[in-house]
């Protein structure tokens, strides 16, 4: 098992290095690295110092290394658009995205599993069929259309919920939260539904198909032959076995949510890192793009690694060494 972990960690590091290389190339070759790091107000001394710091007169590998060390220290350069250090901007806007992602994620997982189990157990019921048809539409609709539709119904026509922004936020230390104010909570509703809907449909369909597969197994039949109650069979036996492959997918979805937040944040003008990134792409603000890329990849790779390791603890079959049975 240890060997497995080590191998996965090494793989992850390799991926991060490759991504770092891509970010570095963007930084160095698209646009001017001096501009990327220093911004408009700089002196000749600054430029000289930076030349040295980045090793611009030295070989490629050296520059790459220095780029990575700078990044590791939180120095991602200065944004073209805002003239401020990228790290600062990112920290400022991260809470918005994280809150949105967390709320959406929880909704998606909770409802996804619930609906998935329901449509598997009551597979031929009318309600189940309705839910499944609705889910097909949920999967085909682009996220931004869902957002716009929700805005049209709930903001324009009904006027119940705001159509942009976070509402009032409360500052707790470094974190600005919208969860503590009424307007903040109201502002969260539509964006989190928009963001979570696609994920929820995905999870629901997956849970359903896995559970149907599990319910066909012999051990479920044997459990019935032993006279166990339906509730026990569905939730203790079937659900447990269903969750094993589902957990992996859910873990991976966490990363996807943060990436898809880009779209939702744009629709609702939500001041998070997603909107920041899109503006950066429109404006060709390389330092922000590179920084976002690196942070996202650390997050994705990290999540993939954790999910893989978690798998071990969930499925006892993988825990035992080869020399198990007799």
């Amino acid at each position: 098992m240890l060997a497995f972990i080590i191998r996965r960690v090494l793989q992850s590091i390799l991926v991060l290095l490759i991504v770092g290389l891509t970010a570095f190339s963007m930084f160095r070759f698209v646009g001017d690295p001096i501009d990327n790091m220093l911004g408009q107000e700089r002196t000749a001394a600054d430029i000289e110092r930076l030349r040295e710091q980045l090793g611009l007169d030295q070989g490629f590998p050296v520059q790459y290394y220095k780029f990575l060390t700078e990044a590791a220290h939180g120095n991602f350069g200065v944004s073209y658009r805002q003239g401020r250090p990228v790290a600062e901007i990112l920290l400022e806007r991260a809470p918005a995205t994280l809150e949105l992602a967390a709320v959406s994620g929880i909704l998606a997982i909770a409802f996804g599993i619930a609906f998935g189990v329901f449509t598997a157990i009551r597979r031929n019921g009318v309600l189940a069929n309705v839910i499944m048809s609705a889910s097909l539409i949920g999967v085909s609709l682009p996220t931004f259309l869902i957002g716009i539709l929700l805005i049209y119904i709930f903001s324009v026509e009904l006027g119940w919920l705001p159509s942009f922004g976070r509402g009032e936020t409360v500052q707790i230390g470094n974190w600005s939260t919208g969860l503590l104010t009424a307007s903040g909570l109201k502002a969260l509703v539509l964006p989190s539904i928009t963001l979570g809907l696609y994920q929820m449909t995905l999870i629901m369909r997956l849970v359903r198909s896995e559970m149907l597969e599990v319910l066909r197994q012999d051990y479920i039949r044997f459990a019935r032959a032993r006279g166990l109650r339906d509730r026990v069979i569905n939730f203790r036996h079937a659900l447990k076995n269903t969750m094993v492959p589902v957990i992996t997918v859910i873990g991976l979805q966490v990363g996807a949510i943060i990436a898809f937040a880009i779209i939702t944040e744009t629709v609702f003008q939500w001041p998070g890192v997603g909107l920041l990134f899109i503006n950066a792409v429109q404006f060709v603000d390389i330092p922000v793009m590179a920084a976002y890329l690196m942070l996202i990849s650390v997050m994705f790779v990290g999540i993939n690694l954790i999910v893989d390791i978690l798998y071990f603890f969930i499925d006892p079959r993988l825990r035992v060494d080869r020399a198990g049975g007799h």
């Binding site: 012999d218 032993r226 094993v244 006892p316 049975g325």
Partner: protein, 324 residues
């Protein structure tokens, strides 16, 4: 009938399908008494498992009981539905499936699977259930039961797993066990052990056993009485010694002649011409008539006679003269 644990009368199971209605069980009747092992033997597709499924109420739709009665300990059970039938399963009727690997939930320890079964049917505490579970494992011959009770199924070998399955089937103390091909998926050396185990446990507790198999050797070894099935119908029924040494139905006769029992020592194995018909193409009259060497007009036209205790479903059963 009053002292029989299980009594099946004229049971028929039908499966409607696109190509017509299939009858995997057609007018089958037999009894099983307490402590008795009835072997139900026949080729694949003969309907033996279906009868077992019908008794325990686990027919997969659209298969359903079309006719007949099933009586368990004097109560009629084929009309029971839902919750009533569920209470019966495990408590009055236990079942053992063929493949021990897939019968056990890989994510639950065998201790958990045992205790949950017992707690569902018996009014005992959790710790008592656990004690009983350990005892059950010891009884089926799992060494070091107290340590291994929290192990998972994949940590056991095939034979051990089947022992666990048997323990599970017996733990709520049912009066009837249906064993559907319990040894088919096991190594030959292990088969004998499992059969011996099943025999011993059932004798000790007076449990009735429906032992379903296609293996004549198992029947010879374990069964008290035997029911031979062919194309969904009962061909012959009787004490195992009688049926095996002096079969009366031509099919049974053919089966015995083609079984390489150690005692026979013949030069060539007899072969019954043709193959058992598929259930949607059963011939008119006696289902065996196209392959029967002694078939006559009556066999082709009239349905085969019903069986009453020791008899064969044949108009012209085998007698001493025919055999020689």
């Amino acid at each position: 009938m009053s002292d029989a644990v299980l009594s099946i009368r004229g049971l028929s199971v039908e499966i409607p399908s696109r190509s017509g209605t299939v009858k995997p069980v057609d007018g089958v009747s037999y009894d099983i008494r307490a402590g008795e092992i009835l072997g139900v033997v026949g080729e694949s597709g003969a309907g033996k498992s279906m009868a077992g499924n019908a008794v325990i109420g686990l027919l997969t739709p659209p298969a359903h009981i079309a006719a007949g009665e099933i009586w368990l300990n004097g109560t009629r059970i084929d009309t029971l539905k839902g919750e009533d039938m569920r209470r019966l399963r495990g408590k009055q009727i236990g079942m053992v499936f063929q493949d021990p690997l897939t019968s056990l939930n890989p994510l639950l320890s065998i201790g958990d699977q045992l205790t949950e079964t017992m707690l569902t049917h018996l009014d005992i505490t959790r710790s008592e259930a656990r004690t009983r579970a350990i005892a059950a494992l010891e009884e089926v011959g799992i060494p070091g039961a107290a340590e291994r009770i929290d192990s998972y199924p994949h940590e056991f070998s095939g034979g051990m797993r089947q022992r666990v399955v048997i323990a599970l089937a017996l733990c709520a103390e049912p009066s009837l066990i249906i064993a559907d091909e319990p040894t088919t998926a096991l190594d030959v050396s292990v088969q004998a052990q499992i059969i011996a185990l099943l025999k011993r446990l059932c004798r000790e507790r007076g449990t009735a056993v429906m032992l379903i198999t296609h293996d004549m050797g198992v029947i010879a070894e374990a069964a008290d009485r035997v029911a031979v099935m062919y194309a969904g119908r009962l061909a012959e029924l009787g004490d195992v010694r009688d049926v095996l040494t002096a079969p009366r139905h031509p099919y049974t006769f053919g089966l015995m002649a083609s079984t390489p029992l150690a005692s026979q020592g013949k030069a060539r194995l007899h072969q019954i011409e043709g193959a058992m018909p598929r259930l949607n193409k059963v011939p008119e009259g006696c289902p065996f008539n196209p392959r029967c060497a002694y078939a006559q007009d009556k066999c082709r036209k009239a349905p085969s006679p019903q069986i009453a205790d020791r008899a064969a479903a044949c108009w012209f059963p085998m007698t001493a003269e025919k055999v020689s």
